[in-house]
């Protein structure tokens, strides 16, 4: 029985799409029992197999060769479960609150947009609440995001927007003059999808057009913020994300117990929206006073997670905001969010693959129709500017 379980799991390793294994792993995550994951898999073997047959119409038996990848039923454009649950649904649920905290314009993005020729058509893929739409009044912006609620906020502000997927932009090739992708790609859970999103950005601009991409860095300026994140351990990565994950599988991955939970860090004396959720595309210096206990926890955490790139990053949705949504009731019932009475907030987790130094460049450098014209690190983000040359 163990062999069958392992064989089934192996099939999921090799698929692009995390599937219903999520539900088992998810409950384990919340109880923090990773050391018993293997045991549960064995016990729940028949359940696992049921999920398998329910979840997929045909399970590839021999998808180990890469050429089968493209031909398999798991297209690079299919949204993996982890993104549906821990990116899309979360942003849909927190949209108005999220938008109210996203107002500061990142100077580097503003500079890029201001440098574009007057009359440029700029495409913002993953525009969120539309913070950058219209930032250069001499340009025309068309934004898209996968979150309907966020796009609604953009539209209410008068922007030209649509709901679309950054991995499969519904745009004619070469139409835009420039494109931006600000804090988006780190929500894509496989390397192939991240690469595809970059290719799409280049595809939709004209020859000579520029593309600015920014993503969260592994190398965060404020380590105490990283301590608030939940690292997804090796088991998670293999079962939920598959072989697309680029980081090395080191047997020294630490069990969850050694990583401090959010609540254990509770030396905060108050929770304000922007402070609690200050870790965003322009991370600010932590407002948490740097207590001794925090320092030692942060250091230990940092040492333990040097290779760690997959994380759940919490978002605290205050109760008074959650009632407006209604989605939160569902999320709580489904176990996708937790209540934190102490902070008076519904806590959501967002999936992030943070980028290591050089990773974004590596993804972009294989393209034959674009070159990297600028690369920089700014406020805990890795950034590149591409120019389409063909």
């Amino acid at each position: 029985m163990l062999y069958n379980v392992l064989r089934v799991i192996r099939c999921f390793y090799q698929s692009q799409q995390a599937c219903s294994v999520l539900t088992i792993a998810q409950s384990l995550h919340q109880s923090g029992i990773f050391s018993t994951m293997r045991e549960v898999n064995i016990k729940g073997a028949s359940g696992l197999c049921t999920l398998v047959s329910d979840g997929q119409s045909d399970i590839p038996q021999s998808v180990s060769d890469s050429e089968n990848m493209g031909k398999s039923s798991f297209s690079v454009q299919s949204t993996p479960e982890i993104e549906k649950k821990y990116v899309h649904h979360v942003y849909d649920a927190i949209a108005p609150h999220f938008s109210s905290t996203r107002f500061a314009k990142w100077p580097k993005v503003a500079t890029f947009l201001s440098s574009l020729p007057s009359g440029s058509l700029v495409l913002d893929a993953g525009c969120g609440n539309g913070k950058y739409l219209g930032l250069n009044p001499d340009c025309f912006f068309i934004g898209c995001d996968i979150s309907g609620p966020l796009i609604k906020i953009c539209a209410d502000r008068g922007h030209e927007v649509l709901v679309a997927d950054a991995v499969n932009l519904p745009y004619r090739t070469g139409f835009g003059d420039a494109a931006i992708s600000i804090a988006v790609l780190h929500h894509l859970s496989t390397e192939i999808r991240r690469k595809r999103a970059i290719e799409e950005l280049v595809r939709v601009v004209k020859k000579g057009g520029l593309v600015l991409i920014t993503v969260w860095a592994v190398e965060q300026e404020d380590r105490s913020l990283v301590a608030k994140w939940t690292p997804l351990t090796e088991k998670y990565v293999e079962e939920w994300i598959g072989p697309g994950s680029p980081h090395a599988r080191s047997p020294s991955s630490l069990p969850l117990e050694s990583i401090p939970e959010n609540e254990d860090n509770g030396l905060r004396d108050h929770i304000k929206d922007s402070r609690e959720n200050s870790m965003e595309e322009m991370p600010e210096t932590s407002h948490l006073a740097s207590k001794g206990k925090n320092d030692s926890l942060s250091l230990k955490h940092e040492k333990n997670t040097m290779n760690q790139q997959e994380y759940f990053v919490p978002w605290h949705l205050p109760y008074h905001r959650a009632e407006v949504s209604g989605a939160s009731a569902c999320a709580l019932a489904n176990g996708l969010a937790k209540k934190d009475d102490k902070k008076g907030a519904v806590v959501y987790n967002r999936y992030y693959h943070v980028f290591s130094e050089g990773e974004l460049e590596r993804l972009a450098s294989g393209m034959d129709n674009a070159v990297i014209v600028e690369r920089f690190y700014d406020k805990s983000n890795w950034c590149i500017i591409l120019e389409k040359i063909l």
Binding site: P117, G119, I142, E160, L162, V163, D165, N168, P170, R172
Partner: protein, 122 residues
Amino acid sequence: MRLLTHNMLSSNIKGVANGFPLRIEVEKVIEKQVELNADFLRNLFPKIEWKALLDAARTMGYAELPEEADSPMLDSDEFLNKFHHALLELHLEEGALVCPETGRRFPVNKGIPNMLLHEDEV
């Protein structure tokens, strides 16, 4: 949705050879005035598929665009005004965009097209 956006949108359903232009089903059109920017219009003109813009404008109830257009016409204020109006001032508020090959309808609500594909379309 403005016709500028419509001129860029293409059905990206798996297997579709040419998803452009999307056919427009109109339920509600509104007009919103916006300031004319000649530089912008001149920059956009080479990108525009004229026939698609012409047909779309007609579908939206605006029949003033010439059958054909070439760049010298951009020197004419009258042409610029019509081009500007069709491209930027007509909004499809409610309706749908239809894939020319599969007939799949992408809904447009409150001016927002939803171009997300279903699992079996990627």
